[in-house]
Amino acid sequence: MDLLRDLLDKQVVDRNQVKIGKVDGVVAELRPGRPPRVLAIELGSITLARRLGARPGRWMAWLAKTLGGKRHAEPHHIGWNKVRDVGVDIDVDIDVRRTAIFDWQDWLRDHVIGRIPGA
């Protein structure tokens, strides 16, 4: 598998087929003399900002921590052992509701969208 081609920036869906984000980053362990091993995929704005450069990365990390507290100071990790299938989408065996990934969307639903009639 070509990590950049087949993994990075693909759609991630959880156990219930909920679209939870894109593979914003890949965490791999470099091993001397052997091919690198993928440990996890990363999701979230901090990872995306880091791809633009070190400084945007630091700013986003600060922003995420300020707005979201400690739970959001680091990018979201999904262990490689949770990845079930790499096809059109990346299927992961987690339930997004039990992670911090959708905290901001839940906030948006509870405080803004959900308060508008007809939501």
Binding site: D9, Q11, K19, G21, K22, V112, I113, A119
Partner: protein, 406 residues
Amino acid sequence: MKKLIEISLGIVTSVGGFLEVGSMATAAQAGATFGFQLIWAILLGTICIIFLVEMAGRFAAVSHHTIIDAIRERFGFNAFLWPLLATLLVNFLVMSAEIGGVAIAAEFATGIGFQWWALPVAFLTWLLLWKGTFGFIEKGVAILGLVTLCFVVAAVMLKPDWEAVAAGAIPSLPGHDAANYWFMAVSILGASISPYLFTFYSSGAIEDKWDKTYLGANRAIAGLGMTFGGTISVGVLIVAALVLGAHGINQVEDYHQLPLMLIPVFGFWGFVLFVASLAIACFGAALEIGLQQAYLVAQGFGWTWGEDLKPRQDPAFCGVYTLSLLLAAIPITLGLDPLKLTIFSMALTAASLPLTVVPFLFLLNDERYVGEHRNGVISNAAVIFIIALGFVLAVVSIPLQIFGGS
């Protein structure tokens, strides 16, 4: 039979998407100032958009990816950021222009100044997106959009010199106001080849759950639908050339000159038809662009999206269109001239084309996405031509805006 209904519906829908404030305003301006001479620009734009829409639909049906989705996936986040930001900005301006178009129509109908209508129009658009389903919006826009056929009827009833019309289909050099002529040509091309059309179309294909069995339908919808839309634009141009020119209006500087267009043919009802056409075409486009803004962001970042879901299920998606519509209403509320905004945003659309069209060349030739359905020689030649055209437009649109825009 079911396919046939779907195809006819798709054709009508694409007309709704094609004809909006940009194509109406640019065609009317071109007709008034240059007679039939710029018909070639509408034809060229229509042929280009047929190819792009066909490819966007084929890509979605075969790969189950929307174009936006795939640009992020294939080129990575950093490269994706440029088309994303450019398209968001262009869509914002175009949506504002569409809201302005509906607001102007409301002003014609009621006499109350257009600024006052911007927020109500944005609210009504939002309400339909909030409560409606994709099918409802698609079909509603489509069926109401048929009223714009009145321009074709009017064009035929005015008995134009068809030889002169045919001569306009061949590009020719202008006899006067060269900068303005080329600026009009660029604006017409920008209005015809709108990125929101093909990105929206590919999202629609996913919303309607297309697969490979739709490839034939896709071809028919793209070809006939866009031709149909282009025909109506040509109708607007012919009517503008014959009516506005005859009344001594050689420069359309103000929307208030436009309702005159249909009156010699239909009398008072011409005024009503014009107002209805303007309102419906712009309203339909505002709906589609509102959705498109939400598709763009949600697909780019991998959030849950879908117009058929309840807002509670995709709060971020709904948040994007809510915010976009609100922001787009502001310039019009502040009294920005909708016609100037329209022409400006059409030129900017043309300038942004390379960012969204270059990816087509890669995506439609990538076997991992489209397998055996990848582009043939003709489609690739078309994409390369559109890319070249896009670069030319990008380079000339800003200088022309300065020298030929007013």
